[in-house]
Symmetry: C2
Subunit: 287 residues, 2 copies
DNA sequence: CACAATTACGAGGGTCGTAAAAATG
DNA sequence: CATTTTTACGACCCTCGTAATTGTG
């Protein structure tokens, strides 16, 4: 009977050129390898090596066998990888979101409702999220707008409202409300992982130079010890509190307010019913 | 360690749907198969079956694993087939010929000169022989004419001269020589395996109806007990003797005489030197 | 003399089969 | 009660490692 271990051993010999070297690489003794290859030749009913008492070399048969063995062993390796990956994906809920804020609540909800599942989440553009949802890359996604498609189930999730956080000394700090254009051109502090807000910012404040921070911690330090304007939102403040010594001024542009929408395949609606119920009851309570 | 026998067992289960059935098909006991699959799940770190005490069924992981396993096992099978086939081809001399007569002598020569080699021979058209030679399908071929190509080595091998074999009562049996057209239109007896002679016959005797015999034995019986004309040649008579009670009349058309040519790759000339030498010395003796 | 491959022999791991148990329809 | 899967136990095959042999540069 041909077995995979024989093929991997054959490949090791092909790599090393010598049996003793291959045996070392395989963590077995030379005699074991020698007999194993004799057995392989026996099952194939073919000689694989030119033997010259003191050294061996693959013959034509051997070289052909090595080519095939490479493919077989590689495919066997793929089998293990793929099955493990698939199994893992079956036990993982993948969430896609257009912005970070919805994930804060969703991840905690999901981990409580489906404690046996692993959770993975990522932020992408709306088109990527929708196609990813359709391909099964995500179990559900969060978009900044509703979507009406026959196979997809969509409902409003929660609202995020953007504010400017200004130092008290800022000339506009007394305003009741502001527009993006009022601050446009000033340096502002910005986090890098803010999803679609990044695009909103660039469109509405094209003249502004953003000091982008990759680390949450760095951002908070700078937010506390600099006089730079930055954004906060109702959701951010709910989770992290109001920034100290700052004036919070709502942004009046319609783009500064979004209603996030939960989106999943209709066929997955049942699987996710617990989550959907929870979201909806929370929504009605918060009204 | 993943092994092939586990994958074949998995495939058997996928085919049978039940473990006991698969065990029977594999000629092992159910418990052995059950534990083998448990071990497979262990090495993959994944469950492959839905277990319900009394019956098992492949789950999603299992179905994916089966798909991959099919490929792996199939490729492993291919490995064995291909390597064995290649080894055999290394130990086989394949001869291609345009006609049967040259093979009679060549095969006996080759089997004596290369007693460890298997011999395979076949008759094909010239173009097929030449392309087959270039592709390595044949070690050498025999053509009815010389070929001049840079990579090929060619020399005249032996001459075959065609005769009519007529019953004494035949109206033309007293002729010193005959042409194809003299017999054209009569029924003649013909063997099926005569290579390019078949084409010669059809071109030169378009009106003749050939009674084609597939079996050498049938042909000889009919040759002996019928009054039909048939062909013989110097080579055929050297090997099988002159037909009894028959008049042998040479055919004067130039197409009735061919000089067979031996043809091999120049790169194979050295390997075949023993044979080539033998042929050449035999040729010079026969002059 | 170092190094490489093969042969000999005993030990251990793993798969196998038989027997028994548990569960289902 | 027949069928199917799993667990338990003992047997045997087979691979492995150590040691010894042979042959080469």
């Amino acid at each position: 009977m041909l077995e995979l271990y024989q093929l991997t051993q054959l490949l090791a010999i092909a790599e090393c050129g010598t049996m003793s070297g291959a045996a070392e690489q395989l963590h077995i003794s030379q005699p074991a390898l020698s007999r194993s290859m004799q057995k392989l030749e026996e099952t194939l009913q073919v000689t694989l090596f030119d033997r010259q008492k003191n050294k061996i070399q693959l013959n034509k048969n051997g070289e052909l066998a090595v080519e095939h063995a490479r493919r077989v062993v590689e495919q066997a390796h793929d089998l293990v990888e793929q099955v493990r990956y698939f199994d893992r994906s079956q036990r993982t809920i993948s969430i896609g979101s257009c912005a970070p804020a919805p994930l804060w609540e969703l991840i905690s909800m999901v981990s409580r409702l489906y404690p046996e599942m692993a959770i993975s989440s990522e932020m992408k553009d709306s088109e990527v999220l929708i196609s990813g949802l359709k391909e099964g890359l995500y179990q559900f996604v969060v978009l900044p707008n509703p979507i009406d498609e026959p196979d997809l189930y969509c409902f409003p999730f929660e609202k995020e409202q953007l504010f400017f956080s200004l130092p008290p000394a800022h000339p506009l700090s007394a305003s009741k409300e502001l527009y993006f254009k009022d601050i446009d051109g000033e340096n502002i502090l910005l986090l890098s992982q803010i999803g679609f807000w990044r695009g909103v910012c660039q469109r509405k404040m094209p003249l502004t130079h953003a000091l982008v921070q990759n680390e949450q911690e760095d951002f908070e330090t700078l937010a506390q010890f600099s006089a730079l304007p930055f954004f906060v939102s109702n959701l951010a403040m709910r989770w992290s509190g109001k920034p100290e010594n700052r004036i919070i001024i709502p942004i009046a542009d319609p783009e500064a307010t979004v209603v996030y929408h939960f989106l999943c395949k209709k066929e997955d609606k049942k699987k996710l019913s617990a989550l959907i119920e929870k979201i909806k009851t929370d929504n009605s309570e918060s009204l």
